[in-house]
Amino acid sequence: MDFTITDELADVRDEAVRWVAEHVDPEWADIQHRSGDYHTPELHQLLARDGWLGAGWPAEYGGRDRSPAQAAAIHQEIAALGIHEDGWSTTDMVCKTLLHVGTEEQKQRYISKALAGETVIVLGYTEPDSGSDVAAAKCRAERDGEDWVIHGQKMFTSTAHMATHVFLLTRTDFEAPKHAGLTLFMVPLDAPGVEIQPTHTVGGQRTNTTFYSEVRVPDDARIGEPGHGWDVMGVALVYERGGGGAGRTGPSLTDRVAGWCRGQITPEGTSLFDDPTVQQRLARIAIESEVARLLGLRVGWVAGQGGMPGVEGSMAKLYGSEAKQRHYSAMQDILGAEAVLTHGSPGAPLAGEVDTAFRYAIVGTIYGGTSEIQREIVAQRRLGLPRSRPKS
């Protein structure tokens, strides 16, 4: 038993900090916050130029002779500034999937351009009528000679308006059982018939609804065999979940709320932190946050042991996302009337960070598999309870 968290990136952290200090404009965090675009093309280009996107990839697909550890450290430093790299994370995930299931020609074509920063790939899985039931996708791809012709609509295609390709889940067989008629394509977003409409969210991010009307792609844009889309997605999903590594840690939001309370003087003349109801809530948040952290670390540990941390990932995601919602709501109560002030409001406690976290946490129990889906996974795979879905 050992809970020491070794910083595997310790050796390269200084260099990463230097690169980031030199190239990254901290203002980008604010720009992302205001625009809702969680992708900064300028940053993406810089990372590509200096070879950080290609770090650790095979040279034959455009990989660069750069230390993957240092690349990881750079991404951590960027995240620590509050700058998102949503465009890179979906691109990275799709490229990893291609490594497993793509043809040699596809790997050459797509991966090298992605690592060079020339293409950005986003995900097109969810549809208006299929959320948790991803396999119910109706977006249709029909064979037409050497091509495929695609019709349909996707929801939550985040970063699509700044990307070049969408990794698109389609149905190519309407006769086959639900999970057996799916096929994935790499569709250029500038293809005729593609339309992108913005969707704005409570957390401030922009996402998109994408429409596909007689969109024609050649057969070599097909990823994996026709009808094997479910398995291809399975490969990709492994990369979507996964636990948090060590990362950079500073004082947690809980620490900062506690600090804020220590500095507030109540009408009775005592520190707000002296209120036992405040203490009790902070203790609970601290405990549950530690539990969430440990469940997350376990995912990485199981993976490191060569295991497939499926249920562990579901547990970490379920617990962590639900806990966060409770925590930020309790923090707002503690902050009191001023808690409603958003980022940028004058006098907002902790610069509105709790409000931002509260808004952002809403989606945590939904995206990447809702809490209800995670509970089902835990019940069935961990506890061995019977499948309770209706047959369909």
Binding site: T126, D133, M155, H200, T201, P267, S329, L335, A337, P346
Partner: protein
């Protein structure tokens, strides 16, 4: 015991349900963000005499009781109508009691001026984050030992900048030293504290009613959604986990509504418990509004997170509206002392 409304109250509900349906659709609610105030909705309310509806008829008001008032506040809450009726009623009632003969009341009864109440005592010359503070011309605040009405000249709203906030409410700070504010002392000493405490209890009661409307509308939205949204070959309302969680919030919600009605009845009948019941109704509705909107949003899946769907409008306000009174734990402690260890 009688849990029914009078025919007049039913008519009142119909009338305001219809008024809000026509003036305050969710398009209007969205358009009114971030300020959270729509001049047209407010004008319509003024025309019905709603802000002064509980002022005695002899003073030009409607002579209504609190059961009537909560009916209106529920309908407002259901539509999230962007108009500070709760604050206006409370402030107007207070002025009608403290200064029944003065021009202050006349200005509120006849005109479209907005009056409001600072829920917390003034500190360092500022009334912090006053609900409806950005659009009000009249503010009643407890300033040291005095209950004071501050009036500002009329002008285009907002009069005072409103900081961006979660509930898109026209909250604002009032700096009370400004030369343009007319200061009228309404009461002093114990009477000032008593009046302010009562007004704060009335605000809790009407806010509880608004939250009840918000809560029940959010439940309806959620129930409708899970009936119409299909997954895995069935409407998602088929799934037992969803059913049970909705049943829990529906059950607690009906109980919370009964508590609200009891609190309004106690206020109307001069019950000794009236303030306590108002606090209880407020605390419980706050909590349930948050839980209900959260569940409803969750069952919307990804859509719940988009600005496009209405449920987020409800979700944000469920958290933001009651926070105007500060940390609910402090109010709960106050309530417990009042219930179990009253100062005699």
């Amino acid at each position: 015991m009688d849990l029914s409304f009078t025919a007049e109250q039913e008519a009142l509900r119909e009338a305001f349900a219809s008024l809000f349906a026509h003036t305050a659709g969710t398009d209007v609610v969205r358009a009114a963000e971030p300020l959270g105030f729509d001049e047209k909705v407010w004008d319509q309310l003024v025309r019905t005499g709603a802000p002064a509806m509980a002022v005695p008829e002899g003073l030009g008001g409607g002579g209504a009781g609190f059961v009537d008032l909560i009916v209106v506040a529920q309908e407002l809450g259901k539509r999230l109508a962007p108009a500070p009726l709760v604050e206006a009623v409370v402030a107007t009632n207070l002025i009608a009691e403290a200064a029944p003969g003065g021009p202050l009341l006349q200005g509120l009864v006849d005109q479209d001026r907005v009056a409001t109440l600072a829920l917390q005592p003034v500190a360092s010359g500022t009334a912090r984050l006053v609900p409806a503070g950005a659009v009000a011309e009249v503010l009643i605040a407890l300033d040291g030992d005095e209950l004071v009405a501050f009036e500002r000249p009329a002008g285009a709203r907002p009069h005072v900048p409103s900081p961006p906030n979660l509930g898109a409410s026209p909250i604002a700070d009032w700096s009370l030293d400004g030369p343009d504010l007319q200061r009228t002392v309404l009461a002093g000493g114990a009477e000032a504290r008593r009046l302010h405490h009562r007004a704060r209890a009335e605000w809790q009661l009407l806010m509880a009613a608004a939250l009840d409307g918000l809560r029940s509308a959010a439940l309806d939205i959620g129930v409708e959604y899970v009936k119409s949204r299909w997954a895995f070959g069935v409407p998602i309302g088929w799934f037992q986990a969803i059913q049970h969680r909705l049943a829990d919030v529906a059950t607690a919600g009906e109980g919370a509504q009964l508590l609200l009605y009891e609190a309004a009845w106690a206020r109307d009948t001069g019950g000794a418990d009236a303030d306590r019941l108002a606090a209880m109704a407020f605390l419980y509705q706050s909590e349930l509004a948050q839980l209900t909107t959260r569940e409803s949003l969750q069952f919307h899946g990804g859509y719940g997170y988009t600005l496009e769907y209405d449920i987020q409008l409800y979700f944000r306000r469920a958290k933001a509206w009651p926070l105007a009174l500060g940390d609910p734990a402090r109010l709960a402690c106050e309530l417990a002392r009042d219930l179990f260890a009253p100062e005699s």
